[in-house]
Amino acid sequence: MSEVDMAVIKPEMMKSYIWLQTADGSIQQVEQEVAMFCPMICHEVIQKGMGSSKNYAISLPQRVNPAMLSLILDYCRFHQVPGRSNKERKSFDEKFIRMDTKRLCELTSAADSLQLKPLVDLTSRALARIIEGKTPEEIREIFHLPDDLTEEEKLEPLKNTTDDPRIRLLNRLYAKKRKELKEREKLKNVEVEEERVDDRSVDDLLSFINGDNGDEVREFCFADSKGIKTSKSKKKNRRRKDQQKSTSANEANKNHSEESNGLNSVCHSSEVGQKIRPSIGATSNLQDVEDDIFANKNEFDDGDIDDEIDPALKEKLDREVEDFARRLNSDWPERMQEILSLGQERKAVHFPLNGNGSVRRYSRAEMISK
């Protein structure tokens, strides 16, 4: 006998109801097949035998208020019908989810407490779509989030509240890194004089260099004799740095209106020890120092990084290192100020982690002498 037949014969017997009670005390009855679509209600009925009458109404979790319950039941009523096509379900979902953010959040909460995973997924996706592509300010406004992180908290490393051994190790690595940089600074002072000698020979290569992009020049450099290499790279570096400064200035202006770089303006001024800011777009030089500490931390064989960095960059890096070391030595508040103002212009530079600073120095000296 089909269900339809049965309904004709005994209509009152066909429909059975489940009694539900929301946190505010109101009780209502809902068709069984609709209510049983929710795993939590299903569990209560089957495992505990609740919901069969008004006295034994299933008490729903506090997060489910009557308005949300009615929405959830609408959802269940539609989806529990087996014959619907995927297209139908999808278009129902799209219409269903059109509501203000406030109700979306409440609905997510209610669906979660009833363990109705498909609805949780649906609302979560909708909330994700709202968040996607917005600046932090916009997101805070939409969801009424308190802006309760201080400027320093946004910049400073995560407080070592749980005394995470990884964070302690990191701090130790930073200290080591700082020491190395100080040493490099000393070396830099020695080398500065020698480099100036090569400037003059650059003039005749000006026309060639000015027309090319970085890669081609570099290739040309490698093909040529070593003596010219340094000077060419220097020239190229200077040009590149100027270009970058102007493009980064432009970018900085553009970035202010974009979402991910709304983040940048806050976290741009990173500090040694500051860890978690994602480098979206231009990142500060300081960040990259620690970045390489991370790379090292991950136990990769970083020994060949140095080989990959062409000599052209090394020149530029040394200059950056000098700045960095100087900044490290100044006081914290002053440093903060400086960083905040300089932060916009910095371009990301890969600072190779070379444990053996002396090797580098040797090879540079060798190049210069040739």
């Binding site: 953010t101 406030k102 959040c105 997510t108 909460s109 979660d112 949780v120 997924d121 979560s124 996706r125 909330l127 994700a128 779509r129 968040i131 996607e132 592509g133 932090p136 300010e137 997101i139 805070r140 406004e141 969801f143 009424h144 989030l145 308190p146 802006d147 309760d148 992180l149 908290e153 946004k154 995560l158 990884r166 979402e259 991910s260 983040l263 806050v266 976290c267 860890k275 978690i276 800011r277 994602p278 480098s279 979206i280 777009g281 231009a282 990142t283 960040q287 990259d288 970045d291 991370f294 790379a295 931390k297 991950n298 990769f300 064989d301 990959e308 371009k347 990301a348 530079v349 890969h350």
Partner: protein, 444 residues
């Protein structure tokens, strides 16, 4: 002003429990998810719990951008806690391969369930061998884009106790043995897609799996297509094959419901016809239980002898035909449809003719099989251009199909005046005589 409004509103979203917040963030690209860490104190730690990592370098070529990306990923992974559910990585050559290797290892160590790698590289040295022995992996997608062939280096021991879905794209299999090792290591495989892969000369592509339900072998290049496909899959429900190999051996495809075959180009030459003929007959012999069939390809004159290639498929009820017939579909259709005695639904795409003498062919070139008229319920024409022979076909079908219920005409895309043209066709079609009373004509 904004601050005031913010103070007045209630922060409801932060009341959601941590798992829900990280679930919401898992739908965002990882970059944006991490950016939420500065929203408020409540949000500052949520990102570290997200289990979906969606990393994309957006094809940035500049060294500085690559470094930014690499450093970003390092930091995200470093600060994460918990298992990795989905790890999706898309990057190119500008990303250091040893770092990519490390990231993948991180995912493997953290019990990754779904690994999706889309790599545009010159050589494949960033996929650790651990990928092929990962116990928790359920979905693996390896999508390689490269100018030269990249050989997939497989370890001797391949063990995939949980792998259900495997997609391989753009790689080369070094030998039969490695193919064998790979597929025999997947004991619960349900879906396999092999796409744009290279098979060496005289290679045997052997897939034998009791659990496999969906199989796609597409655009696989063999050396002069001189390779063999052997499939033994009793649970197979869906089979798709683009471009036929030299020989097919399909065993035990008892559960097969749907098959899609793209013949590619069947050249008008006796030698290739013979070879194609054999592969095609083997294929159709293997899928003889199929209920739904999609056929596509460029068919030369030899296809006139359709019965040589396609045998009778008794259980077939749905046919989707998208072919370019050198001799015109008017001449091929009657013979083709005669192979499907159970046919109830036909979807036919009208494609451009290659032959010149088509105008002289009057529809129908020969009689359609009689069983068709008492069985055909659904008929859909795609890319309808309104030409004379197309109208002749429509007229013919409407006149003879006694149980036709749904007749749909999808007009070819027109830039100008589309609605007008459609209504013209609708008018013309509605004037035609319909033998079936229940028949509804739709023009879309």
């Amino acid at each position: 002003m904004a601050k005031q409004a913010r103070m007045e509103g209630v922060d409801r979203i932060s009341n959601l429990p941590d798992p829900i917040l990280s679930h919401i963030l898992s739908f965002l690209p990882t970059k944006e998810a991490v950016a939420t860490s500065i929203l408020s104190t409540r949000w500052s730690k949520i990102f570290s719990q997200i289990s979906n990592l969606n990393l994309d370098d957006h094809c940035k070529r500049r060294k500085s951008d690559s470094y930014s990306f690499m450093n970003f990923v390092d930091r995200v992974l470093f600060y994460r806690i918990g298992v990795v559910d989905k790890f999706h990585l898309k990057c190119g050559d500008s990303i250091d391969s040893y770092r990519v290797d490390g990231w993948i290892r991180y995912a493997l160590l953290n019990r990754v369930r779904e690994l999706d790698l889309c790599l545009k590289v010159k050589e494949l040295n960033m996929v650790p061998l651990g990928v092929f022995t990962c116990k928790t992996l359920e979905v693996l997608r390896l999508d390689i884009y490269s100018k030269s062939n990249i050989v997939l280096k497989l370890p001797v021991e391949i063990c995939y106790p949980s792998l259900k879905i495997l997609h391989l794209s753009g790689i080369e299999f070094s030998d039969d043995d490695s193919i064998q090792r790979l597929f025999s290591g997947c004991s619960v495989l349900e879906e396999l897609v092999v796409d744009r892969c290279n098979l060496k000369h005289r290679c045997k592509f052997n897939v034998s799996s009791p659990t496999l339900q969906r199989l796609t072998i597409a655009y696989t290049k063999g050396y002069y297509q001189d390779y063999e496909i052997v499939i033994d899959a009793p649970s197979l429900v869906y089979f798709k094959c683009c471009h036929l190999p030299k020989s097919f051996l399909l065993k035990n495809l008892n559960s097969l419901v749907e098959a899609c075959v793209d013949f590619g180009t069947v050249f008008d030459c006796y030698d290739s016809f013979v070879y194609y003929n054999k592969a095609a007959t083997d294929l159709f012999k293997g899928i003889s239980n199929v209920q739904s069939l999609h056929l596509s390809g460029i068919f030369a004159e030899v296809f006139l002898q359709v019965s040589n290639i396609i045998p009778e498929l008794p259980k077939l009820t749905y046919l989707n035909l998208d072919g370019y017939f050198f001799v015109g579909w008017e001449r091929v259709l009657p013979d083709l449809l005669a192979c499907f005695p159970g046919l109830e639904a036909l979807v036919f795409k009208v494609n451009q003719h290659y032959s010149c003498d088509i105008s002289r062919v009057k529809f129908p070139a020969k009689a359609f099989p009689a069983f068709l008229w008492s069985q055909l319920r659904t008929f859909k024409i795609l890319s309808f251009k309104g030409q004379k022979n197309e109208f002749q076909m429509v007229e013919y079908f409407l006149e003879y199909a006694q149980v036709l219920e749904n007749f749909t005409v999808q007009t070819r895309e027109r830039k100008q005046d589309a609605a007008n043209w459609r209504s013209k066709i609708t008018k013309k079609l509605s004037k035609l005589q319909k033998v079936s009373k229940k028949c509804k004509v739709w023009v879309v």
